[in-house]
């Protein structure tokens, strides 16, 4: 209130905590800020903290203004604009650090804390995993501690991390209401304004494939999807998740081409019912186990039984599906046969010659040609490695006849080219293979590093048949997974015991993804199904939100209004008696002892004289007769007080 005090400069402790809050914001944003910006802002923040600690004086304007200009220029130069998600976050963090240069008063500190909270939330736009969320929640603690430090007249502050404990307690107390609000805040069916543009270059399955292109992907062990099955999971060797079916080859790269026709006919023998929770892939394709029977809701099944969602999957997305694991796909003679035999002109002459030679050697026995190719990979001195030698213009010739080393992409590509050269319709399929079966959670964890490429060939009478040439070279790849196949070529984080620990821990991430991130409009609507309400509409949710606020408020008020006077029960009982007498106008005067007061009351209330005298005696005995009053007497006194009803005063 008084102008003098609110304008008092910030003390060193509050300013230190404020700097800590800003440092937390900077640390949480650092992963997606350009490195030079973090490297410039962090020392600036540290310098300002040291400077104000030594000599509390203002930073001159000639220093602040150029810094502000430099920040804006650098961001425009790097991102091309001041708006958008990345540029906006960088600008916000930069401005927050610069704000510290002119924070001198409690008011500045409050503005800074509010801004820091906003920037912390903005960090979640870049990833809402469990670790990130908890990190942001921890980042709130210094901000709350700063606000506390702005208040005057506090107990001697604890030092170090214990300074943050009261904020933690406050957040803990707020958690029940926060969870209720989280459940009941009605979600928006469609966004009010455009979603943030994501130009993020994330490694993931692509709709093109060239030998060697997966290298980055195979080292990325972040989860790609989680699969749970209605029945027992298929054995490891049959866990093929198809994403793209690629037909076009230009000598270096296989391409997927959309064919929007009715799905190819399928005769399913065995089917599996399962659910996939897909991590954001920023692609439209939805990987499916083997060959799906139907498209998942909201997606379309294309000719080659590739499932495509309506829009890129930018948020975690779950879908249920049924797939055939034993099947005959397109067993009738295929149309567009030329499409599956297409090869670029003027590439890989030796490979084409080998394919034709096999055709001549085996006549019309397509299966024998396939076996010949697999035998070549198995016995031809081929080696499985994640770091193969680079290939020249005639890539397949180089691979088959010179380097003889590579991973799934190389084998699938070479095999398909060989088959086409031999006149067998063939295509490359990319997707995921394998995964870690989490027995505790009952789901299959598929990582990006489980990305795989294989082939499908069309054999008369059997339709499209999956052939995995990599398995011929390295059976472990299919049976034990990518990590086992790679041996010690992987970074240490993906090895053995650590990897298995991470696989087990993944169940927590899954819970988080299902329970928190995946809690969308649909799940919210179905929230009350166990209580017999099929569709919880926004009005009902709003009412529930209000009810939970009232409930939490009531619990909070009960806590706030409870008086803990229990140290001395006899005194509390006397207080209660005083309250009852005060209602009849008999207030205990200052300096009036209990005996005098109760005597006066007895005189004023002749009808209850005997009762009051008994109470007086009882109290005096309780107080002064012995050192430790007997519990029995205490109980009697309290009961007598409770039963006492003061009648009207007789004047």
């Amino acid at each position: 209130m008084s102008a003098a005090r609110t304008d008092a400069p910030l003390d060193a402790r509050a300013f230190g905590l404020l700097c800590l809050s800003v440092a937390a914001v900077l640390a949480l944003h650092a992963p997606h800020l350009p490195w030079w910006l973090s490297a410039a802002l962090a020392p600036l923040l540290f310098w300002r903290w040291r400077q104000r600690r030594r000599r509390p004086e203002r930073v001159p304007a000639w220093l602040k203004l150029p810094l502000l200009g430099a920040l804006a220029l650098a961001i425009v130069a790097y991102y091309g604009s001041l708006f958008g998600r990345e540029a906006g976050a960088a600008l916000a963090v930069g401005l927050l650090v610069l704000k510290m240069l002119e924070s001198e008063r409690p008011r500045d500190a409050r503005v800074g804390v509010g801004f820091a909270c906003f920037a912390l939330m903005a960090a979640l736009l870049f990833g809402q995993g469990m670790a990130a969320t908890f990190a942001v929640a921890l980042g709130l603690l210094p901000a709350l501690a700063t606000l506390r430090a702005l208040e005057p007249a506090q107990p001697v502050p604890a030092a170090g991390p214990r300074l943050l404990l009261p904020g933690l307690a406050l957040l803990g107390a707020a958690l029940p209401l926060a969870l209720l609000a989280f459940l009941f805040v009605p979600r928006l069916g469609s966004p009010l304004w455009g979603a943030p543009n994501t130009h993020e270059q994330r490694t993931g399955l692509d709709d093109t494939m060239s030998p060697g292109g997966f290298t980055q992907l195979l080292l990325d062990d972040s989860p790609a999807m989680r699969v749970s099955f209605a029945g027992p999971p298929p054995p490891p060797g049959r866990r093929y998740f198809r994403a793209y079916v690629m037909s076009d080859y230009d000598g270096t790269t296989w391409r997927y081409r959309d064919v929007a026709a009715a799905p190819a006919p399928l005769e399913a023998v065995d089917t599996v019912r399962y659910r996939i929770d897909l991590e954001p892939s920023h692609q439209r394709v939805l990987p499916m186990l083997d060959v799906p029977l139907h498209a998942p809701p909201g997606a379309q099944l294309l000719r080659d039984r590739v499932a495509m969602a309506g829009k890129p999957v930018n948020d975690p997305f779950g879908y249920d599906a049924v797939s055939a694991t034993r099947y005959r796909l397109e067993p009738q003679p295929i149309r567009h046969r030329r499409r599956w035999l297409q090869l670029p002109d003027g590439y890989d002459p030796r490979t084409l010659a080998l394919g034709r030679a096999w055709r001549q050697g085996h006549g019309t026995d397509d299966a024998a040609i396939v076996q010949a190719a697999l035998a070549l990979f198995h016995d031809g001195g081929f080696r499985y490695t994640l770091a193969p030698a680079p290939l020249g213009r005639d890539a397949m010739d180089d691979f088959l006849f010179h380097t003889r080393e590579g991973f799934c992409e190389h084998y699938a590509s070479a095999f398909t080219v060989l088959m086409r050269a031999a006149g067998i319709p063939a295509r490359v399929v990319t997707g995921y293979q394998g995964g870690y079966w989490n027995a505790l959670g009952g789901y299959l964890l598929v990582r990006h590093s489980d990305a795989h490429a294989w082939s499908e060939v069309w054999l008369a009478g059997r339709g499209w048949v999956r052939v995995d040439p990599t398995a011929a070279v390295r059976p472990q790849r299919v049976d034990l997974g990518a990590a086992a196949a790679a041996g010690d070529q992987l970074p240490w984080t993906q090895r053995s015991w650590l990897q298995s620990l991470r696989n087990r821990w993944d169940i927590v991430n899954r819970w988080w993804n299902e329970g928190v991130i995946g809690f969308d409009t649909l799940r919210q609507r179905g929230l009350l199904t166990p209580f017999g309400i099929r569709q919880a509409d926004p009005a009902l949710l709003g009412a529930l939100l209000a009810a939970s606020c009232v409930l939490s408020g009531a619990v909070g008020l009960f806590w706030a209004l409870r008086r803990r006077d229990g140290a001395d029960p006899a005194r509390d009982a006397l207080r209660e008696l005083e309250r009852r007498l005060a209602r009849r106008g008999l207030t205990r005067r200052r300096g009036e002892g209990p005996r005098n007061y109760l005597r006066r009351a007895a005189r004023a209330l002749p009808a209850q004289r005997a009762e009051l005298e008994r109470l007086t005696d009882c109290y005096l005995e309780l107080r002064y007769a012995c050192r430790e009053p007997s519990p029995e007497l205490l109980r009697r006194f309290r009961r007598a007080v409770r039963d006492f009803r003061a009648a009207r005063v007789v004047k």
Partner: protein, 318 residues
């Protein structure tokens, strides 16, 4: 703006005492309870609410559930801080107010004694334009808060309303309660700036003059009230402080008999001011004095208690 608000508040309190809970003076001790504690968000609290709404809209729009969860958490923490603010004041007792002494026009030191069984942080007390913050620790159970009270005229002065308030813990909400203790403080009259010494003692002066010319017995430090002509300028020039020639103590000084009736020709308040000055001089010189007032006679005496008694009597004059 602020003045207009204050005028509106005063008007509302005058016209709608039931609504604004205008507190009539009440005897001490006063315990704060839920019926007299009010809470509103501070300006920062309002700004923070707007910020939370923006974050809520953003989280919902981008269907970012993690951000939504943390926004809810922050909002709930803010709401919980309101209860903490209430609890900081609830049950706090103002036991008594101790008043110091002051002459009219000077600030009178007041001591507010608060007690509580719980620790209470960052409670502030406003009286007029003055404000103080205090911490009440459960281990001590009580705290004495000093607060200056501006005074204008001598006599009994009723305490105005004081406000106890807090924005603990986050500064988002202000909880406050008005206290209007039924207590008055006695303000002493202001002594006149200068004037003649008490009448009938002019011989004192003459006796001192007799001493002039005699060699000073010693030099001593300057004390307030020493006549300038006794300063030993030459000796002082060689020292940090002023030195005064200390003459032989005149023979035992006589008591001053300060008498209301001697100042018959003077105006009422000026008489009081003169008596106050004489009392002050007597106190400074450690001289015994007696005081005769129309309705009170105070026997000769000296010392702070005697001085306070005489000044109280002067202050209470009609």
């Amino acid at each position: 703006m602020r003045d207009a608000l204050r005028r509106a508040q005063e008007y509302a309190e005058r016209r709608l005492p039931a609504l604004t809970r205008y507190r009539r003076p009440e005897p001490l001790p006063v315990a704060l309870h839920r019926r007299r504690i009010y809470i509103v968000p501070t300006r920062f609290g309002l700004g923070f609410t707007v910020l939370l709404l923006v974050m809520l809209a953003g989280a919902l729009n981008y269907s970012n559930n993690a951000a939504l969860l943390l926004t809810c958490l922050l909002g709930a923490a803010g709401a919980a801080s309101m209860l903490v603010a209430f609890r900081t004041l609830d049950g706090l007792r103002l036991e008594d107010i101790r008043a110091g002494h002051a002459v009219a026009g000077e600030a009178l030191p007041l001591g507010f004694r608060f007690t509580s069984r719980r620790t209470r942080c960052a409670v502030r007390l406003d009286l007029g334009d003055a404000s103080a913050a205090f911490l009440l620790e459960a281990a001590r159970g009580e705290v004495m808060v000093a607060m200056p009270l501006p005074t204008e005229a001598r006599g009994w002065q009723a305490l105005s309303r004081v406000r106890v308030w807090t924005t603990w813990p986050l500064g988002l909400f202000r909880a406050w309660s008005w206290l209007h203790p039924a207590q008055s403080v006695l303000v002493w009259p202001r002594p006149e700036a200068g004037g003649p010494p008490p009448g009938g003692h002019a011989d004192d002066e003459r006796r001192q003059r007799l001493h002039r010319g005699e060699d000073p017995a010693a030099l001593r430090d300057y004390r307030r009230g020493d006549p300038l002509r006794h300063v030993a300028w030459k000796a002082s020039a060689r020292h940090h402080d002023l030195l005064v020639k200390d003459f032989e103590e005149p023979e035992a000084r006589r008591d001053w008999q300060l008498d209301w009736r001697q100042l018959g020709r003077m105006e009422h308040e000026r008489r009081i001011a003169r008596l106050a000055r004489w009392l002050g001089e007597a106190q400074a010189q450690d001289r015994r004095c007696s005081l005769w007032l129309p309705d009170e006679r105070i026997e000769a005496g000296s010392g702070p208690a005697h001085y306070a008694r005489c000044m109280d009597a002067l202050a209470k004059l009609p």
